[in-house]
């Protein structure tokens, strides 16, 4: 369970998050939607202890990230970029992460296989395509076989096959009782993947509920999204 309680974040004079609260529950895929710059990444970074909230709390199973004993076994995260040094090979990157979690090299081979990177594992990360880099990020998130996954724009840069793979994979994770929180601005993809939807705009939550609840009277999630986030809400339907 992921719980955001009244998160506020200031950077300089700017208020990036103005008191946002929502939950991501086990057994469900929660989609975190919003236009670019709405505060999606900031929220996820605070949740992962990378940035500090000005006030409020972001908890993982009731604890802050810094309180987790073995974070990789609790929560797997893939944020912007590959999160890897470009001169290292994909396999070497996953191996140091495995060391940090006390996992064996055979687990590294397992996740390489899961994300379909086995053949590219000895290539330097700098030579990876965007899609391969995203798969590497997913592999790192999956290493500790965590019950919670936090993914920032996971389908960005993936080819159609990769997108379908992610969708099926995340559905399976949720069905076996895991918590999945993913941010995206791609409505079509999200509508087919998520159970719950949280929409953020200018650092405020404008909708929070099941997919059906958020779509409401609109014909698609996309239309609901634009109705909720457009500067002239109500005019564009």
């Amino acid at each position: 369970m992921l719980t955001m309680n009244n998160l506020v974040k200031h950077r300089g004079n700017q208020e990036i998050l103005s008191g946002i609260s929502f939950r991501a529950r086990p057994g469900r895929v929660t989609g975190f939607l919003g236009p670019n710059g709405a505060g999606k990444s900031s929220t996820l970074r605070i949740l992962l202890g990378l940035d500090r909230a000005t006030s409020g709390s972001a908890l993982i199973n009731g604890k802050t990230f810094a309180e987790l004993h073995n974070p990789l076994a609790t929560v797997g995260a893939a944020l912007d970029g590959f999160g890897a040094h470009r001169m290292r090979t994909g396999r070497a990157h996953l191996r140091w992460i495995a060391r940090a979690a006390g996992l064996s090299n055979s687990r590294v081979e397992e996740v390489l296989k899961i994300v379909g990177l086995t053949n590219a594992a000895d290539k330097r990360v700098g030579k990876y395509s965007l899609g391969m880099g995203r798969r590497l990020g997913m592999a790192a998130a999956l290493l500790g076989d965590p019950k919670i996954l936090i993914l920032d724009e996971p389908v960005n840069g993936l080819d159609p096959e990769g997108i379908r793979w992610i969708r099926t994979f995340l559905r399976e994770r949720a069905q076996s009782g895991n918590t999945v929180l993913l941010s995206s601005h791609l409505m079509g993809e999200l509508a087919e993947t998520v159970d719950d939807v949280v929409i953020i705009k200018h650092g405020t939550i404008v909708a929070d509920g099941t997919l059906e609840e958020v779509i409401g009277n609109h014909s698609t999630l996309e239309k609901a999204f634009f109705a909720l986030t457009s500067e002239h809400a109500g005019e564009v339907v």
Partner: protein, 258 residues
Amino acid sequence: MRAFNAELSKLFSLPGIWLAFLIGAFAPAVITALDSIVQKEEIIAGVSTRLSEVGYIGLALGVQGVIILGVLAVSSEYLTESSESGGGAQITTSLTAVASRLHFLLAKAGAVTVISILLCIVAIMTTVSTTYLILGEYTPAFEWSRLIGAVCYWTFTALLALGITLLTKNGIIPLAVLMINSSVVSFSVLLYKVTKLALYLPDRAGLEMFMFTSDTPFTGSLFDRFHNPFTGGLIMFTWVVVIFIIAAIVFHRRDVAA
């Protein structure tokens, strides 16, 4: 311990580190070889005034290897990926793999310390062998206490490089400043022309752990003994601790996105 293993694994899988190993292991021997060849005649004639520095001069100037090590250990975390890939950096992965930033930092410092010690031991072996090869029976005896001093000097230098890079996040400035300072133009030599406080700068004080061993009283020359080896080491260690604490506080408070 896991975080420490992860840091070792990171360092050994970084190609740039092999350059640090290569320089660290052989640069002192090369400098020593050149110095010994130049001095050989004077040493054999028994008129060399720098007999006590034979070999150690290489260890003093050849500290570049561990500077690269200390800088790379941190700068590799902050190296930004191409904008095409989303402009992330490894630090996000590191801090989601180890929850406590202090643990992360201690693990990194621990890995750099262990590698510096080992690298200095290798450098001592290559340097001492080179000296024997060139000077043969005229080689002055190497004292254990001074060699241990050299190991401390290397380790402290690496930790200073690590701490400073943690503050700058970028490796270029600390790398340039520290490497030039330890080889071409020493900041403490320049500052010494202005004030004697320069003798308390980390590099100058640290060198007293194994250099400037002549027993002549302090004449005002920068190359005379001013501190005893223990005090010199203590001064340098204090610098390491202070810079490390500042870096740790800044690092602890800093948003990764900032």
